[in-house]
Amino acid sequence: MGILLTFFFETDQDSGKYSYYGIMGLRHRGYRASYAVLNGNGIEIGRINPWSEKWSLPKGYAVIAGIEPMASLGLASGNTKKVAVVSEGLCDPERVAKILASFKKIDEASSEVISKESMDSCAFVGLTSDGEFIAYRGRNGIRPLSLGGYGFESVYFATETAPITLMGGEYRHDLRPGEVVYGSRTFLESYVLEGGKRTTSLFEYIYLARPDSYVDGINVYLFRKTMGAKVARRHNSTHIDVVVGVPETALPYALGYAEERNVPLELAFVSTVGRMRTAIAPLSQEERLMALSLKLNPVPNVFEGKSIAIVDDSVVTGLTLKTVVHKLRRTQAVKEVHVIVSSPKIINACPYGVNNIDPNTLIARVLDDEKIKRALDVDDLIWLSLDDALEYLRSFGIDPCRRCMSS
């Protein structure tokens, strides 16, 4: 998941060069991206691996892209035009493209598309060979979409704001649930459908987004630090010598936790494979273990005889945590290990396709806390209370989607 749209108003500008950085700003979400580029010849589509060494986009003044497999690209031809759509959530990009291509005017086409209830849990961006763009955030608001501008040059849309700033843009607005924005180099219109709910994916804040982003107006870094502090407040009776965060995503949580408890934070692991996101990399079980091991080489002799709190952002399969604990126990002779999970238990697959996890691999679904503790060989296991996360996000007007966390 994660989608992007860039549209330059001067057709000689090369959007592809800017969009390169936009896609780099989304690649923490996955290992394949599909794109469509609009230029004088029409629409060109393709697929790249943003983690690979050398890749680039064709020349063009507008680009849409999405991180596969949860976001995908669809293409359709009507009588007068071609349309490309990248969507995520519960909708079919090809169907959307087909409807858009069957109308002459984009305002009529868009109202036809978005009035369908089946689009409520979807977000999409699209380009037409007429030189028009469209972006929509479904009425449920599950999938966020923000907008920004780069001088007099271009308009940018993205799931989170880091891609916008990486492309030189300034973040300006979060699409409201049910809001559609469409335009061209000569007009831009927007409106909001009634009945919108801001049930933005909680998983975006917990894990998916970059900490240097805003998602639907929430500062992701501050969210994570605050959640770290909130768990700490509920876990303040046990003695802890030192706090450790599991790289990379959990570091802001660990910081918040350590600050709140006034305990030092130590770096415990060094990666050999950069900032690879092992949880979503397309790897076999064995490869994933290898990758994890390379990502988490322990710093020697820092934790001997100590009671440590290991903070992780979320526990999905439990594989990462297992590796972390195992490495620390084996190399450092730690005294006690307290695991702090800065998310509520994830017990269901996401019905909206935000993640595509096999429910039977979800450790918190299959095992109860006592068994998990035994399996991971830890002394304590604390979860962020869902209420803590809800309280925070509700204070900003978001009642997040937590379908993967509730039974």
């Binding site: 800017y18 040059e153 300034e170 300006r172 335009g183 180099r185 831009l188």
Partner: protein, 502 residues
């Protein structure tokens, strides 16, 4: 019937606003206008005041002189900038007419952006930016590529078109931005040289700054200078400050001389900048500046009030806001300025009023103007007036009883409220519903001008700029230092009187 005759040159929205402002005078003037298009709003005011609407090219000195001789006006007001550049003021004054508007030489302050910047450096006027001007397209392109993070503009005033900002908000974009800047600079330079033969340089490349923009319009007789309330224009075509550059899609002002995001002190400093400018012009050209002079300003983190460009006239759409703000006699203001008697004039404004002005343009403005031309417009004036709003006609022409778009911003709707911008903006939105095209062609405007979300962003940006420039001032910094490994410590001294001394 009144004896006072005023002749206004020009037939756009600015001149319509001028006509309205002047018509409220206690002198009850007869209003005459010379223009090449027929502006229905101005036409009506001419008729009702016992004046006349004359056809003629505002930029052609002969046309205007002929009109003036026919009418024998007590005062001539020049609206747009182009007549100033083409010596209309000079010719009229030469013939003994009393004219509100600067001479062609003093109007260089707007026409020639290089001249204006040079004046600022030479006389150390605060709010100056680094710049360099070019004649040769290749040379300009080369410089734009080498300098980076720059703004490329036509060196000559080109009616609010041609400016592109090549921001390097992040270092990793610098190569892309510089290449784009170079390509564009070359193309623009060639275009400007083809189009304008009355200026030496084609291009000005400037350092890029960031901040909140506002316009300070003033009136001067060459000695005294009177500042009008600060107005904020909106150059982007689309809401959320997105889209290509336009001549201005609307403006806000109030609740008094300053906007919520500009302080009294910043207003005073901006006034000082304009005052220093007319003094320096006198020094440089040995000529008094008479007329309107406006500073298009930006509150930046380096200088605080910073000059982006001068207008040798009132801003459009900015002047529309004055309709609801000026309490004292506007005709007398312009007349006293034209006669060198401004010191006795007392400007009064409505405190506590919020004014929102929104421009309406046919789709195609400004990038595809051909498309935007010739669409018949319908304006339900009665309903708009019921809302208490004013209508200013701009890029329209009355042809055989039909109001046709000319390709530019067609009209402006100005509304006011004592409750706040949000309220005035909502009124304007209602009023805009009464404007449409008979052929169903799309009209565009910005709903967000005056919206709360919009003001909030301005407040935040202004606060950040203020924190930075006050810190800089407290330290007395007028130098910018940079460490370039291998080259050493380089600096740029803003207190020197040369722009490119680093």
């Amino acid at each position: 019937m009144s004896k006072f005759r005023v002749l206004i040159v020009g037939g756009g929205a600015r001149e319509h606003a001028l006509t309205l402002l002047v018509s409220k005078s206690r002198l009850e003037p007869r209003i005459f206008v010379v223009s090449s298009n027929i502006n229905p709003g101005i036409l009506r005011l001419c008729k009702s005041s016992g004046g006349k609407y004359l056809r003629g090219k505002p930029t052609n000195p002969e046309d205007v002189l002929k009109a003036a001789k026919e009418i024998s006006p007590d005062l001539i007001i020049i609206g747009p900038e182009e007549p100033l550049f083409s010596r209309v003021t000079d010719v009229l004054r030469n013939d003994g007419f009393v004219v509100f508007g600067p001479s062609s030489r003093t109007s260089l302050i707007e026409k020639d952006k290089g001249f204006a910047r040079n004046l600022m450096w030479k006389y150390k006027i605060p709010g100056r930016l680094r710049y360099k001007t070019f004649t040769d397209p290749e040379e300009a392109a080369e410089y734009a590529k080498a300098s980076g993070d720059s703004v490329v503009k036509p060196a000559r005033q080109a009616g609010g078109r041609g400016v592109r900002v090549f921001g390097e908000t992040a270092e990793h974009l610098s190569r892309i931005a510089r290449e784009a800047a170079a390509t564009y600079t070359k193309r623009l330079a060639e275009m400007i040289m083809r189009k304008y033969k009355d200026i030496e340089s084609s291009i000005i490349v400037e350092e890029r700054v960031e901040g909140v923009e506002y316009t300070l319009m003033t009136v001067t007789d060459g000695n005294t200078l009177i500042s009008l309330p600060v107005v904020e224009d909106h150059p982007h075509l689309y809401p959320w400050d997105l889209g290509p550059e336009t001549g201005g899609m609307g403006s806000i002002s109030g609740p008094s001389f300053v906007l919520p995001f500009i302080t009294e002190e910043e207003f005073k400093e901006s006034t000082k900048i304009v005052k220093m400018t007319i003094k320096s012009l006198l020094n440089e050209l040995k000529e008094k500046y008479v007329g309107a002079i406006s500073g298009q300003m930006m509150l930046t983190s380096f200088w605080g009030p910073t000059l982006i460009e001068y207008y040798a006239r009132f801003g459009d759409p900015e002047i529309g806001n004055l309709l609801f703000m000026i309490k004292s006699d506007f005709l007398e203001l312009l007349d006293s300025a034209a006669r060198g008697k401004l010191s006795s004039y007392k400007l009064e404004i409505n405190d506590n009023i919020y004014v929102v002005n929104k421009a309406i343009a046919p789709e195609g403005y400004p990038l595809e103007r051909e498309k935007a031309k010739g669409h018949p417009i319908s304006v339900n004036e009665g309903e708009i007036r019921k809302l208490g709003c004013e209508i200013l006609y701009g890029g329209v022409n009355l042809v055989d009883g039909e109001l046709l778009t000319t390709g530019s911003r067609a009209l402006e709707i100005v509304c006011s409220s004592e409750k706040g911008f949000e309220d005035a903006s909502a009124l304007a939105e209602k009023a805009i519903n009464y404007v449409s095209t008979y052929d169903g062609y799309r009209l565009i405007h910005r709903w967000d001008i005056g919206a709360h979300s919009h003001i909030k962003i301005r407040l935040r940006k202004a606060r950040l700029a203020r924190l930075a420039y006050t810190r800089r001032r407290a330290k007395g910094l007028l130098m910018v230092y940079d460490w370039i490994p291998g080259k050493g410590l380089v600096f740029f001294d803003y207190s020197s009187s040369k722009s490119l001394s680093s």
